[in-house]
């Protein structure tokens, strides 16, 4: 059996951990640049604040109901997520971290309701984060079980193991809420008069394969309790690493764009080094503001190859800047950029180059020293010159909470 542990309203819950006065009060967390609402406490949901809504549209609602608004504080959320995952790992034999607030748990050894209730209370006690756990024979059904667990406020856990129970639950479960069914597929399914998950489970598989992709067939198999997506304990390395951001103010100048791109590249390179891997390709994309319909749009992208796989800041930044030179046009104003490092390999799989002129041992030592210094002194204290001299990139974060667990100056002080 596979379990899915999902943190309830994760970002909002993180904000509450060190500020209990926010309990039972409406809380929302905003996206990068304080643009849209990306997390809501249950109280905010009840006020009718929708997910993904631009914050300016609900300005009055926020003011009238004294909703507490926070900018995203990823250093806080990342650290609390790590604590949640570590606690889960102490309780089950294997954990597959699926996202910052979700993890699949291996319950192939033994399973009962009390064990789930215990794990849930332990995570709450050790980290302050409330979670829900759903358990079922497959990942897709575990997602459904988790959805039901969230409705059981008291227990917060649900086991979906009996086939009759599965059928009953799927009958009331809308296809658009299923894991892996996007907006486009759910519209297509609805047009074919398939509205609930049981209808999808009962469809003729050959017909489904003809009308949709193989992924839909896999999904149907999962709904029948047959495993299509096996448990992965995350020992494998990430095949690609991306850093992309929207800018607070739109950018036209090459040099400003270069600073952003260099910072994204350094961020990706540092993540590569953390998982001890090397990348063979770099992609860069730029985007103009798609919401400005009166302005000509431009979404260029480019992929370039490294002769020797690398995780070196200097090489990756140089390549990112070469990529920028190739796709930049001064005729446009850009809203977003992103760097993706892919085709990652481990050290023992590096294809060496005949014309490599870099002393890689020396450079590995340099990266190690940079990582060490930045770890002690703070992110980007030692930087590549093209990252610019600004301490923080120009992202709007007007409602940022303290980084209670990752910054010495932000540690809570208690007066006795």
């Amino acid at each position: 059996m596979i379990g899915l542990a999902d943190c309830n309203n994760f970002y909002a819950s993180c904000e509450r951990v060190f500020k209990p006065s926010l309990n039972n009060k409406p809380v929302v967390v905003l996206s990068n640049n304080d643009g849209c609402i990306i997390a809501r406490s249950n109280e905010s949901k009840r006020l009718g604040i929708k997910m993904g809504e631009p914050v300016f549209k609900v300005k009055n609602l926020i003011k009238e109901n004294n909703v507490r608004v926070f900018s995203t504080n990823f250093s806080l959320y990342g650290d609390l997520s790590k604590r949640v995952m570590t606690t889960l790992k102490s309780e089950v034999s294997s954990v597959e971290v699926y996202s910052i607030d979700e993890a699949f748990l291996d319950f192939s050894d033994h399973l009962n309701l009390d064990r789930l209730i215990y794990i849930r209370s332990k995570v709450k006690k050790w980290t302050g984060i409330p979670i829900s756990i759903g358990v079922a024979p497959t990942k897709t059904l575990a997602k459904v079980a988790n959805y039901l667990a969230k409705k059981h406020k008291e227990k917060g856990v649900f086991i979906l193991d009996d086939d009759d129970l599965i059928k009953k639950v799927l009958k009331d479960f809308s296809v658009q809420d299923l894991w892996g069914v996007g907006r486009r597929y759910s519209r297509k399914l609805n047009q074919l008069n398939i509205h609930n998950a049981l209808q999808l489970r009962n469809l003729d598989t050959d017909w489904l394969r003809k009308k949709f992709s193989i992924n839909m067939v896999r999904l149907q198999k999962e709904l029948k309790g047959e495993v299509s997506y096996s448990f992965d304990s995350n020992d494998s390395i990430r095949k690609s690493i991306c850093t992309s951001r929207s800018f607070a103010k739109e950018v036209r100048e090459f040099n400003t764009l270069k600073e952003y791109v260099s910072n994204f590249a350094v961020n990706c390179a540092s993540k590569l080094r953390k998982q001890k891997s090397y990348c063979s390709k770099l992609s860069l994309f730029l985007m103009t503001n798609r919401f400005k319909s009166n302005v000509k749009q431009y979404y260029p992208s480019i992929t370039l190859d490294f002769l020797t796989p690398t995780n070196d800041n200097l090489e990756i930044v140089t390549m990112a800047n070469k990529a920028l030179k190739r796709i930049y046009s001064s005729n446009f104003i850009y809203k977003k950029a992103g760097v993706v490092l892919h085709n990652t390999v481990l050290k023992e799989d590096i294809q060496m180059s005949l014309f490599d002129q870099i002393d890689r041992k020396k450079r590995a030592k340099l990266m190690c020293s940079i990582d060490y210094l930045n770890n002690i002194l703070g992110k980007n204290k030692v930087r590549v010159a093209s990252q610019g001299l600004k301490e923080n990139l120009d992202f709007k974060r007007n409602n940022l909470s303290p980084s209670y667990t990752t910054k010495y100056s932000d540690i809570l002080t208690i007066k006795i």
Binding site: K322, M352, L354
Partner: protein
């Protein structure tokens, strides 16, 4: 103005030069053939700006004129005719060409020939002559090793390094390298990089000929002349990496092995190798070679042993390669007995056929391995 030409002869000539035309060109004129009529000679041209092909047909005509005709249309049109004379009438007032055949009359529009890109002219040209089969062999031996990296365009072509007594054809993608040497006397030393596209076209055209091919070149362009066909190509700009410098001279461990056995073993283990790295590990001990692969993603592994037709003179060694690169190299080499020279697991390895009089040398860079 009018000219008369054999339908099949025109079709054959146009098919010969059609390989250079790419579909979906940014410039519509590049999807046309140029017809240049000049004193009883019809010159046909096609181009993609980097490469231009030209051929000639004798025709009956007294006038001079040039028109550009849609390539796809004229090829399909001519294919429908058995051998017969076709009369082309160019009506410049309406920009229309009328064609009279034995049984009908057809008309289509044309572009002004002046819109067609001009063919490059060489300045201070130099010329070499090579037997077409020798040239073809040199291209076949090297072209597969050239890269496709847009950041390093010099590696996307075949380098011709001309010295007084021989010509080296070299191609590399930085992970593998091939140097093919031919004995050819030349008055001066020179070098240029030929792009892949015209070479691939030439490979197909010259496959059944044994005559000489004349190559004229300057610093920007090369012209291949062969019978009635002329191919102009823009050379790849930039300086080629110093390939001689990376060829190791002190690889003291030598493995003499049958190419057939090595390819056979590689083909057995490769399907079970990691799909992204294609890594194969060689363990050489005494006169025995173990070739193994492992793909932990899908829990597969393979090991094949070679202990016949093998002679090893050197220290025990464990070294890994990209099996795909290695197979490409082995399949390109002509003779069965190979001499593979190695030094350490991180140094380039040379592969040479034993009876080849040093004509072909391959170089492959290993994949890093850690024990």
């Amino acid at each position: 103005m009018k000219f008369i030409v054999s339908s099949q002869s025109l079709l054959r000539s146009l098919q010969l030069i059609s390989g250079v035309i790419s579909p979906n060109n940014a410039l519509p004129i590049l999807e046309n053939f140029l017809f240049e009529i000049d004193n009883g000679k019809l010159t046909l041209k096609s181009t993609d700006l980097d490469c231009t092909m030209e051929t000639h047909i004798k025709i009956e005509s007294d006038e001079n004129y040039s028109v550009a005709v849609d390539a796809k249309m004229i090829l399909e049109f001519l294919k429908a005719f058995p051998e017969q004379p076709l009369t082309f009438l160019i009506d410049s007032t309406k920009n229309i060409i009328k064609v009279h055949s034995e049984d009908g009359e057809y008309s289509f529009t044309y572009f002004d020939g002046n819109e067609f890109p001009k063919t490059p002219l060489l300045s201070e040209e130099k010329t070499i002559k090579i037997n077409s089969q020798t040239f073809l062999e040199s291209i076949n031996q090297t072209i597969f090793a050239a890269g496709n990296d847009e950041l390093r365009p010099v590696m996307s072509g075949v380098y011709c390094d001309i010295s007084s007594s021989n010509i080296n054809f070299v191609a590399t993608d930085a992970h593998k390298l091939i140097r093919h040497k031919i004995n050819e006397n030349s008055n001066e030393t020179n070098s240029f990089i030929l792009p892949k596209k015209p070479l691939n076209i030439i490979k197909n055209i010259f496959s059944e000929s044994s005559e000489d091919i004349e190559i004229s070149y300057d610093s920007s362009n090369a012209i291949f002349s062969f019978k009635d066909l002329v191919i102009y190509c823009r050379l790849v700009e930039g300086s080629y990496p110093n390939y001689e410098q990376v060829i190791p001279k002190d690889n003291s461990n030598e493995l003499i092995i049958s190419k057939k056995n090595l390819i056979s073993a590689l083909k057995k283990v490769m399907p079970l190798s990691n799909k992204s790295t294609n890594q194969v590990v060689f363990e050489i001990k005494g006169n025995s070679l173990n070739i193994s692969t492992i793909d932990s993603d899908v829990n597969s592994s393979a090991m094949s042993n070679i202990n016949s037709d093998i002679k090893y003179n050197g220290e025990d060694l464990k070294i890994a390669f990209n099996g795909k690169f290695l197979l490409e190299i082995l399949q390109s080499l002509k003779y069965n007995e190979l001499s593979i020279k190695l030094k350490t697991p991180a140094k380039a390895v040379t592969i040479e056929p034993n009876n080849d009089e040093n004509k072909t040398l391959a170089l492959i860079m290993p994949i890093m391995i850690t024990d």
